[in-house]
């Protein structure tokens, strides 16, 4: 077995991309640009304001968890975080993610592979059970398990999903649906609407349109937008509509396919802020205003840039995700009873950071190498802030994460089968 693993590792070590990172200057494929001045570069991350301090955010003495904001960086391994942090804040600086006061590691293997995909990893993080790659919200034998979002909803909490992919992509799908294959996105969208999740923000409008529409991604006549609106959803698709919407159930689909993560689209942090605002209000207007909310936010496209082995794109998507983390932390620190958890479903690209010299001598050069175009089996980081955060320190399996959330919310039993 060991020999096989070693042989596989040797086989996949192809050094496909080399990037030199020198201070704020990043050379990609021979092109040097400066993050502070390269406004016209498509990967310009000057939108991002790094923290003025690398001090950790404060620990809280509160013990009661009212709200949970669960942020998942798809494909965001520890080195993706380190690379993005180095790019904007230097080797000693920290992203907002890294300033969360509690940190640990998460193992990510699936039922049928050491290397998981987002469906199996999403199912583990949502439902607390292992499954095969490609399967959403059920075990390999087809038994559907309730997700932590569904369990929170059953407990009376308002719920939301935000992603930069289609809203029915593997990670958000794992929190609000159950399907034998991640490819069943039209059916997954139907489940998301039927599930009465309060806030759904992302891409994937094509799956909500009947096949008669030229932009449809469906092979039937179901008009899911009409169905959603009939069920009480307010539908928004522009930044202006997003700003003005104020309703208990909001469906925001900002592209036919995945989000472009470019203007004029609202950035992930804006979607996160709006979702928090709507969910806070929805939970206050519920019959028992102490129920709080559960929100999952995914930075979906870190994974995609890493599949393409594009360092600058991986940095940009990680920074966009980090802005959403900052938005969640800002709310949590003011609220006092909100638990923020940040992790990844898996690492993508087998990213390694090598080289580097003595920082005191101004030698901060790093070399970035990719060892695969697929996912890797590397453990990922987990960071937490707020009441109960300390539960997430140490090394844990990905299935333990929603179990800990369930314990903190008083949800029992968990995991459990869908009735």
């Amino acid at each position: 077995m060991k020999a096989t693993v070693r042989a596989l590792l040797i086989a996949i070590v192809s050094l496909t991309s080399v990037v030199a990172l020198v201070g704020s200057n990043l050379a990609v494929g021979g092109t040097v640009f400066n993050y502070q001045t390269a406004k016209t570069d498509s990967n310009d991350p000057s939108f991002y304001q790094p923290s003025i301090t690398s001090e950790p955010y404060p620990l809280t003495s509160a013990t009661k968890v009212k709200n949970v904001i669960f942020l998942i960086g798809d494909g965001m391994g520890l080195n993706q975080v380190a690379l993005a942090g180095s790019a904007v804040a230097g080797p000693s600086g920290k992203l907002h993610i890294e300033r969360l006061p509690v940190s640990g590691l998460v193992r990510t293997h699936s039922s049928n592979s050491r290397v998981t995909d987002s469906a199996a990893a999403g199912t583990a993080l949502a439902c607390g059970v292992k499954t095969n790659n490609g399967v959403i919200g059920m075990t390999p034998d087809g038994k559907a398990y309730i997700s932590i979002l569904e369990a929170a909803q059953a407990r009376g909490m308002a719920t939301g999903l935000v992603a930069t992919s289609t809203i029915s992509h593997a990670t958000p799908a794992s929190f609000g649906s159950h399907a034998k294959s991640r490819k069943l996105e039209p059916a997954i969208c139907e489940q998301l609407i039927a599930g009465r999740i309060n806030v759904l923000f992302g891409g994937g409008r094509k799956y909500f349109l009947p096949q008669s529409d030229p932009n449809s991604g469906r092979k039937d006549d179901v008009d899911l937008l009409a169905r959603a609106q009939a069920a009480g959803y307010t539908y928004v698709q522009t930044p202006a509509e997003l700003r003005s919407v104020d309703a208990s159930h909001v469906l925001g689909l900002f592209q036919y396919d995945a989000l472009k993560t470019r203007e004029p689209e609202p950035p992930l942090a804006t979607l996160a802020q709006k979702a928090i605002r709507l969910l806070r209000k929805a939970s206050r207007e519920s019959s028992d205003n102490r129920q709080g909310f559960f929100l999952m936010i995914e930075g979906s496209q870190i994974d995609w840039e890493c599949h393409a082995n594009r360092p600058a794109g991986a940095i940009r998507q990680t920074l966009l995700f980090d802005q959403a983390v900052e938005a969640a932390v800002d709310f949590a620190l003011k609220d006092g009873n909100t638990l923020v958890i940040v992790t990844a479903d898996h690492e993508t690209g087998g990213l390694t950071l090598i080289g580097g010299g003595n920082e005191d001598k101004g030698d901060t050069e790093l070399t970035v190498k990719w060892t695969t175009k697929g996912h890797s089996a590397a453990p990922v980081g987990i960071w937490a802030l707020g009441p109960g955060a300390s539960r997430f320190s140490g090394v844990q399996d990905n299935t333990e994460v929603p179990k800990k959330i369930a314990q903190l919310l008083g949800i029992r039993p968990f995991p459990r089968l869908v009735k």
Partner: protein, 68 residues
């Protein structure tokens, strides 16, 4: 003889076993996968012309150029 292009799609979870410019023979595995049922093999012999990531389907799209 004309050149024919054959598209092969494989899961993006695992590394493709082929790279652009490599020659493949019909039946060669396109990827190392944990489940033998998921194994995708080259349907034709030829040269790998491109390997592109398709985020919507989370797959690699491999184009094999061959003579027909």
């Amino acid at each position: 003889m004309s050149q024919r292009r054959t598209i092969v799609r494989v899961s993006a979870t695992y590394d493709p076993a082929v790279r652009v410019g490599e020659m493949v023979r019909s039946g060669d595995p396109m990827q190392t996968v944990p489940d033998p049922d998921e194994l995708v093999v080259a349907p034709v012999s030829g040269t790998v012309e491109s390997v592109q990531f398709d985020p919507a389907d989370h797959e690699f799209v491999i184009v094999i150029a061959s003579q027909s």
